[in-house]
Symmetry: D2
Subunit: 338 residues, 4 copies
Amino acid sequence: VFVLMQEVCSRQSIDRVLAELASMDAIGHVSSGAQRCTIEVLEVGPRLDRGRLERLPAVAGVLDEPGQVLAACHGSPPRATEVALGSRAIVGGRQVAVIAGPCSVEDEGRLLETARAVAEAGAVALRGGAFKPRTAPHSFQGLGNRGLEMLGRVRQETGLAIVTEVMSVAQIERVTAVADALQVGSRNMHNTPLLRAVGEQEKPVLLKRGWSATLEEFLLAAEYVRQAGNPHVLLCERGIRTFEDYVRNTLALAIVPEAKRRSGLPVVVDPSHGTGRAHLVAPMCRAALACGADGLLIEVHPSPTRAWSDGAQALDLGGFRELMQGLGPLARACGRDL
Amino acid sequence: VFVLMQEVCSRQSIDRVLAELASMDAIGHVSSGAQRCTIEVLEVGPRLDRGRLERLPAVAGVLDEPGQVLAACHGSPPRATEVALGSRAIVGGRQVAVIAGPCSVEDEGRLLETARAVAEAGAVALRGGAFKPRTAPHSFQGLGNRGLEMLGRVRQETGLAIVTEVMSVAQIERVTAVADALQVGSRNMHNTPLLRAVGEQEKPVLLKRGWSATLEEFLLAAEYVRQAGNPHVLLCERGIRTFEDYVRNTLALAIVPEAKRRSGLPVVVDPSHGTGRAHLVAPMCRAALACGADGLLIEVHPSPTRAWSDGAQALDLGGFRELMQGLGPLARACGRDL
Amino acid sequence: VFVLMQEVCSRQSIDRVLAELASMDAIGHVSSGAQRCTIEVLEVGPRLDRGRLERLPAVAGVLDEPGQVLAACHGSPPRATEVALGSRAIVGGRQVAVIAGPCSVEDEGRLLETARAVAEAGAVALRGGAFKPRTAPHSFQGLGNRGLEMLGRVRQETGLAIVTEVMSVAQIERVTAVADALQVGSRNMHNTPLLRAVGEQEKPVLLKRGWSATLEEFLLAAEYVRQAGNPHVLLCERGIRTFEDYVRNTLALAIVPEAKRRSGLPVVVDPSHGTGRAHLVAPMCRAALACGADGLLIEVHPSPTRAWSDGAQALDLGGFRELMQGLGPLARACGRDL
Amino acid sequence: VFVLMQEVCSRQSIDRVLAELASMDAIGHVSSGAQRCTIEVLEVGPRLDRGRLERLPAVAGVLDEPGQVLAACHGSPPRATEVALGSRAIVGGRQVAVIAGPCSVEDEGRLLETARAVAEAGAVALRGGAFKPRTAPHSFQGLGNRGLEMLGRVRQETGLAIVTEVMSVAQIERVTAVADALQVGSRNMHNTPLLRAVGEQEKPVLLKRGWSATLEEFLLAAEYVRQAGNPHVLLCERGIRTFEDYVRNTLALAIVPEAKRRSGLPVVVDPSHGTGRAHLVAPMCRAALACGADGLLIEVHPSPTRAWSDGAQALDLGGFRELMQGLGPLARACGRDL
């Protein structure tokens, strides 16, 4: 049970709620978000009187589920949020932002070659991991700081915005110095200390859905970022884990319209991880675009079979160019630009 | 282990394989499909000599998995199959076939009203269940024969093709008399006696993917129909069962391009069951179309909140008309017609 | 919405409910079960008055979900049902019934050898498929009638009860002539015409849970059998389909105590399909027994590597004997006998 | 592709492998584990010659999958590891260690009351969260340092070992000062910086399986801890996320024997999270014990309905005492002690 306070609410009103709760043998746990203060009721017992709580000054409502608090905090329907990605792109408006690049940063020559190719084909940002979360400790974990430096130089050279992953609080400062958006990966969607820490930054956060996160859990993860003060969140659907075995993950596109409807946040789709198969990337980009995706995150590598990670899902430079040419007319038929 | 015979193959060659298997302490189980004969090797022991089998006359290959047999049977890449739906529509060509109508047939007036409305909006076929598979024995199970008769009269009245479900071998004759395509529902995708029986009919079969069927299982179910002699199969993706809870099922659209690539069969998408939420039907129709769906199966009801089954996922007549108007330009941008 | 009638209820009372529904612009669909009559309300509109319905004569209650009807029909808590398996065993009492044998009936010599070995080790029934549901049409589908005859002779020879699968209504008569319990496989758990048809038999039904069936769906499938007049249902957990890849299925044992609690029916566990790995069968038998399973269904073959189907999950005769020796003390510690 | 080096291996041998890889147009990424050095081959191209690599000095093998490296590193079969939990208990031997206590530390009085009760009933360790990972930012997140202090005092008072969660690298020092084992929760199983950091501690680590982690991913997460130098890992099965809806998670017990077989590590089962239902905790404890679990992690609260988190799955003090009395004879029948 949660007591939701009104947007303008004094310390006195909160103390009043806490006192009432105490008189009902309950305890209140106060949580101050960026917009609203909520009080979770601990020790819900028979003496809890919801009506009395609802009538207290500055109380907006008494709610049962975290999801209801989330909905109430952002009003209904939520305003659509636009998020700037570097100086050139706005995600969440008419333009569909394409973020492309290698899974991992490998060497500067190839990174620059890829960046130039994707920019020419119409991408607005470069993706590429310097810190890589890997299942096995003996797998390549990214070039780290050296990779960040390469990203920084390629950014200057090409003007592309940089989207790269941050895996721990300790890396945030270094990544923020280079990146235009901080990616929080699927493995970290539930890492709440990390969510809070990126929420204290000014750079936008690209938050990937966890492998088996429900929509509500996904939106509540975004809420950790927003409550910490950073409203610039891009939600990213990248496939969920199911029994399907011809793809690496099951791309669950119905989340695109539904997450937008519930949160107002822009939604980006990653068909590379979402299928794990290069030949399925183009049709899934098209499907994502047609159901309202605000951005696409696509793995591109000059020589996919030699990539250091995830080669099976990367497009080569020609494949990416072709994909982009095909997406243009589709975007226009959907009332969007690429 | 399976021995795949060549397309032209004598009884003598088969006997030769069986004799060789016997000499290797194994037993061969012969299965005669419409196109090819395969011999499954039972009792695989240490004396099995695959090379010797491969060199026998009329042997095309020795394979390990049912899926490999399937792939081999239909060549690579398979030819795209076109399936006629009634006298007016071809599924699997340029046209995207829209099949719309109520979940269950309820009464003739409403059925006719719905049929006329969907026809006017551009649907080529009417869906509607006379026999309804239901989870609970105390739920409405369809009007049965009376429902079939209504479908028959509405077919004559409107010229729409009829797609309706057949739940058992005993119903086939009655359903075939009325339907232009026989639907095999998700609950029956693994009902092999039923698959074989509809495979002996001449009417096309709309085969829905089982709730938790893999792609290979889905294609092998279609193979039961084809081996029995009926090549006119429409595959239908209708969502799979996952942990997601804001939708009734998870619509897994990557299967559209992949099932087409592997089987050559047309693929129809059912976003009504695939999401279970009326407000998600339109965006998922768009996504399905953009990734190559050859047809859409959509629940429409004059008054969804009063529907006898599945009201939450049905569009009303106005909603369907609006959807169709929006799909036209998208279809054209995809090089298709509606 | 369902109107549940009292156990004793006249046709007049039902007509009264239907008339009231009509006056509320709704339609009632009457379903007569073995114990209770229920009336499903179709076309739930704003004029529906639940209070008025509840006050009508012979109305026991107005319920929202099929699962609530199920619970109401069988009272709370349900009486534990005991099911006779042949003339020697009762399932659902103190004894844990072990049903063992090959996946498929292959030849009579091996079947008899297996039957004698499992009987000596303590099994009360022999399993073995004459009709086999297979994913691929080119896979061995069982010996059919010839397999049934072998089962019949082995039954006479050894006195073991026979549990074998029935895949279609057309097979029921033949299978019933030989079997002491009719198995309905996972692929057919939703095949309601088959459930109704085995519900008209007097032999007990061993009903396997569908690959992705929820507990409620499983219990409602059993209800189809019971409503048709056959109360002798054995529920069988055989693993569900998940993302796990080191096993063939995920054996979800919490269903054992929960299904017993909700339905009163005996629960049998199949760790052979439930894991797909012979070395995991023994530990999972132990776990099943410890959480209350009333029976175990175990695949045993004289030479698993040469089995015609599912060899990877079968125990050999020595392995089965050893397993049974280990289970005895555990059963006693659980207050059960083997 | 991974090159696995022998246990004793010079820097020179590694350089030799790197040079050979370079001559094959590939790049080697060296990873030094506690026991073995592995070299991942990046840029696998046509010139890669596995035979040549295998013949180089100090090379133990060339492997394809992280899981194979894992298996090779720990030999086959792995030795069973015993892990000390405080000064009184050894997990992984004859004794089954019971770890019990509240979900969250709430107040010192109740914590002490619970600790005394579970100790008297036979538990060897107290569980209780001071730092709580929560889905929603407005939910109670634990008492933090104040909770740790309470745990410290109760430890001294009762002599129970303390198992408590660490959510971030920044908390490790504080948690280590109090805890006898550091719990890494399901949400953090893929948080590799955290895994490495607890791997640098001397206290044992109780590692919970991620909601949708495969067995291999689970064992590789443990490998992160072991490679960092800490061999004292307790694996904990706590249920996976599936479509099942009558439980909070699906307890997948086959992992108990399989994870032990593959890793040699002790396995603890958490039936409280694994079912989310208090009435299913006892049967699932029994099942876990019967299939070889080395420990049980059980939520106990003096007044579950008033608990600050997860009350629906907690046993009360009497329920826990009763459970323990029932487990004793079962443990003995399994050749274990409680």
